[in-house]
């Protein structure tokens, strides 16, 4: 009897960790896959952070004003796509420096979002706390009660799968769809080609500009959704700097995943998992070392990022034309 109880507790801890991992991973996966489209097409995007933040702000602001999280999501996507088009206009049409343009977007939004929030809501750069109905819904699945008696499966279903945000399901769909797009579709073939050798695409009678704009727009849509997730699904309102470097972390996951969908997903889950562990370890005495100061524990995901990128990735081969504006040879 006692042993069974302990096993249930252990299972619960694992499930809570897994649940937290998925919640933290969702915006990372959305952002990393956003960058996957853009970078495989040859456009480096370090402006993920800014686009997510803009998405988070507009989702919360519009949801708060209208009461509809769906209008909020739409506004988030629109704002993020607008920024993506600015990036595209600078980097694709005018062949500007992609890092500079991305950085400019980050800086712009970091200042603009709290300023707009202040002007709009007068709450010190935040949006008001969203009531439940202004947040994106969770999907309640049938049969939780029926399954609750089943060992392992019951708790897994209840804690992990039921009542997940609609955006989590969307993200799962996105991962599978992306894999399909990249390996099986015409669009994916062209996208990969334009990131490797745009001249080959041009001489095959396709438009490099058009393909790259398409990729950048997809990036905008996905970062917008990631932002909306942060402020209207995971959280309940926009606060200043709420992306907290997730855009950069997503970029790191993309590199760690060598610009491929499944390894990138794995990298995002790994980063999210260390974050979940980090939260659980705060204030918990560990054997031998005792309680570790919370600051050190919070460093964990970032230390891991540095270590992985510095040592364990091996040679990460970026798409060859990544970061290079396309100029016709004479």
């Amino acid at each position: 009897m006692m042993g069974e109880q302990r096993m249930d507790d252990a299972l619960l801890v694992v499930l809570l960790l897994a649940d937290a991992t998925i919640r933290v991973a969702t915006p990372l996966v959305l952002a990393a896959f956003a960058a996957l489209y853009s970078e495989r097409a040859g456009v480096v995007d370090i402006g993920l952070e800014g686009k997510m933040l803009a998405g988070a702000f507009f989702a919360a602001a519009v949801a708060s004003s209208t009461g509809s999280p769906w209008l909020g999501l739409g506004a988030a996507v629109a704002a993020s796509v607008a920024l993506a088009l600015v990036h595209g206009f600078a980097c694709i049409t005018h062949k500007g420096n992609q890092v500079v343009s991305g950085m400019a977007i980050n800086i712009l939004v970091a200042g603009l979002a709290p300023t707009l929030a202040y002007a709009w809501f007068r709450q010190g750069g935040q949006t008001p706390l969203l009531p439940g109905e202004a947040r994106l819904p969770q999907i309640h699945l049938p049969g939780v009660e029926a399954l609750s008696g089943v060992p392992v499966l019951g708790p897994v279903y209840r804690e992990l799968i039921d009542d997940a945000s609609v955006l989590i399901w969307l993200t799962v769909l996105l991962v599978v769809a992306t894999h399909w797009v990249f390996t099986r579709s015409r669009f994916g073939l062209r996208l990969r080609a334009v990131g490797e050798n745009p001249s080959a695409v041009d001489t095959a009678g396709l438009s490099v500009t058009r393909l790259r704009y398409q990729a950048v727009i997809i990036t905008g849509v996905l970062t917008g959704i990631a932002g909306a997730y942060l402020s209207t699904a995971h959280g309940a309102g926009f606060v200043r700097d709420m992306t907290a470097g997730k855009g950069y972390l997503a970029l790191a996951a993309l590199i760690f995943g060598k610009w491929r969908p499944w390894p990138t997903l794995f990298a995002c889950l790994l980063f999210a998992f260390t974050d979940a562990v980090q939260v659980r370890l705060q204030g918990v005495p560990l054997p031998v070392v005792g309680v570790i100061p919370v600051q050190f524990i919070q460093m964990l995901p970032y230390v891991l990022t540095v270590l992985l990128l510095a040592g364990f990735v091996g040679r990460a081969v970026a798409p060859k034309a990544s970061g290079v504006p396309y100029v016709k040879e004479r």
Partner: protein
């Protein structure tokens, strides 16, 4: 019988790049079912006109006709629709993609790939059989040898239904065997009624392969002739605009004391593979020793090692009798320069020049510490300019502008800048790699004359080249290299192409 209209015709095509009139009223006609050569020096506008025909560059006026009908070619898509395919000088391939994916790109035949892939596979197997275009369809293109990559490009064009195939300098990167293979393919295409246009500056290929030739000079068509009614000499004269000596005039060598003596030299490449496996040779003052060989048989590594750019894995190198192999501090690129060794590297753009530097800066690379160009604290830009201007005059570098970045000069003029730098230092030993690769015929003549003049001043010259004609024209002794070893020595008079070719292929040793 009514006369068939030409498969491809251009009428009065003009193209400007800024102030440069790259194509001036270019009119040419390519009869159906023929192989047509377009020749001219670098910058004559031959690639430009073909890029316009392919829709890669927009024209500033003029008409393009296919089978007698005017077509508006605004993009490669239009050209492909009109049945025009092009194999570019730098291949337009996606290296990580398989051959099949490369062929499919832009002609996928549907939103998903599966059906198109199956269709392409069947079609490509048929094309390979009909034209001798064998390639492994499932290998990544980046892993294929250059000759096979080129076949992929041809397959791409044929798969899209091209009836007119344009090839831009197709043999520049090929070995002699690969070139033969390509020519067989092109002749097979002609037999099937396809029309082939080949852009080149190699006269021998024109004479061997084509039915008709269009000669271009400075953006204009200067002649349209049937190949059977012309000669190499006439074509060379048309290209350059003056008489060109295709043979190098030189007196017999008067070799003096040995300058370079190499014995048992071993060199490894960056991956640790031994590429030079015990080479011994001597170069005397006043002679040119040529090393012939198919590219990749260790001659590049040999030259780089002797220039101090690669560590020796063993052996002896004596310069004017002094052993240097056991003096690693002097056996460096810098140390050897100080000892009177000049080096014209094989790859002038990557090794010989910093292409973003001005010509005058490139002209002192390796000697930038020379007091002649340096004041107490800063460089003496005036001295630099004057020195470079003088060298440009002496070597006929065009445009004569020491402040122009090296990248803006044509290949031949870049090479002259490097040659001037190395020769004007008055070296006792000059190491020369591929001195005329990608260089215009007029400039080749000039470079060859300079090398012979240097020899006649009593300097020792070691020449590495994959161009057999060049080796035979310049060398006083020919050494043949195969698989990291010297497999024989031939006197130029006895060095016919067949004999050299067999030795280079490792088949026959010198008697």
């Amino acid at each position: 019988m009514p006369q068939l209209p030409p498969a491809l015709e251009t009428r009065g095509v003009n193209k400007w790049f800024g102030a440069n009139h790259a194509n001036r009223d270019v009119s040419l006609a390519v009869p159906k079912g023929t192989i047509h050569g377009v020749i001219g020096e670098n910058g004559a506008g031959k690639s430009t006109i073909m890029s316009i025909v392919y829709g890669y560059l927009p024209a500033d006026g003029g008409t393009i006709l296919v089978d007698g009908r005017p077509v508006a070619v605004r993009s490669p898509r239009d050209a492909l629709a009109a049945g025009i395919g092009m194999v570019h000088q730098h291949f337009m391939l996606v290296d990580p993609f398989t051959v099949l994916e490369n062929v499919l790109l832009g002609a996928e035949g549907g939103v998903t790939l599966a059906a198109g892939m199956a269709r392409a596979r069947t079609e490509l197997i048929r094309l390979a059989r009909d034209y001798g275009l064998e390639v492994d369809l499932d290998r990544p293109v980046g892993e294929l040898p250059v000759g096979a990559q080129q076949r992929v490009e041809i397959l791409k064009a044929l798969y899209r239904g091209a009836d007119i195939l344009i090839l831009d300098e197709p043999t520049g990167v090929l070995t002699p065997q690969e070139t033969d293979h390509l020519f067989r393919i092109l002749r097979a295409l002609r037999e099937q009624g396809k029309t082939v246009v080949i852009i080149t500056h190699k006269l021998r290929e024109i004479m061997e392969l084509t039915d008709n030739v269009t000669v271009m000079r400075r953006g204009q068509v200067v002649a349209n002739v049937a190949t059977a009614h012309t000669s190499r000499e006439e074509l060379a004269e048309l290209m350059v605009g003056r008489k060109v000596l295709l043979r190098v005039e030189k007196a017999p060598a008067r070799p003096g004391a040995p300058v370079l003596e190499v014995a048992g030299l071993r060199v490894r490449d960056g991956a640790g593979v031994e590429r030079v496996k015990g080479v011994g040779l001597t170069v005397r003052a006043g002679e040119i020793v040529g090393i012939a060989g198919v590219s990749g048989n260790g001659q590049s590594e040999l030259l780089e090692a002797l220039a101090g750019m690669r560590p020796l894995a063993g052996g002896s190198v004596r310069l004017r009798g002094e052993e240097l192999a056991n003096q690693p501090d002097r056996f460096t690129a810098r140390g050897l320069r100080a000892l009177g060794v000049g080096h014209v590297p094989e790859d002038r753009q990557r090794v010989g020049l910093v292409t973003s530097f001005e010509a005058q800066e490139c002209a002192i690379l390796g000697h930038q510490g020379d007091p002649a160009f340096n004041g107490r604290l800063l460089m003496d830009r005036r001295a630099l300019f004057d020195r470079c201007a003088a060298e440009m005059d002496a070597y006929d570098v065009r445009p004569r502008d020491p402040r122009l970045p090296a990248a803006n000069f044509s290949g031949g003029n870049q090479q002259k800048i490097v040659l001037a730098r190395e020769m004007e230092r008055n070296p006792d030993l000059l190491l020369v790699g591929q001195p005329t690769r990608g260089v215009d015929i007029g400039a080749i003549e000039f470079i060859h004359r300079r090398l012979v003049a240097l020899r006649d001043q009593g300097k020792a010259i070691l020449l590495v080249s994959v161009e057999l004609d060049e080796i035979r024209a310049l060398s006083d002794r020919i050494l043949v290299m195969f698989d990291g070893r010297l497999v024989g020595e031939v006197a130029p008079a006895e060095a016919d192409e067949r004999r050299l070719g067999l030795m280079m292929a490792g088949v026959a040793e010198a008697a």
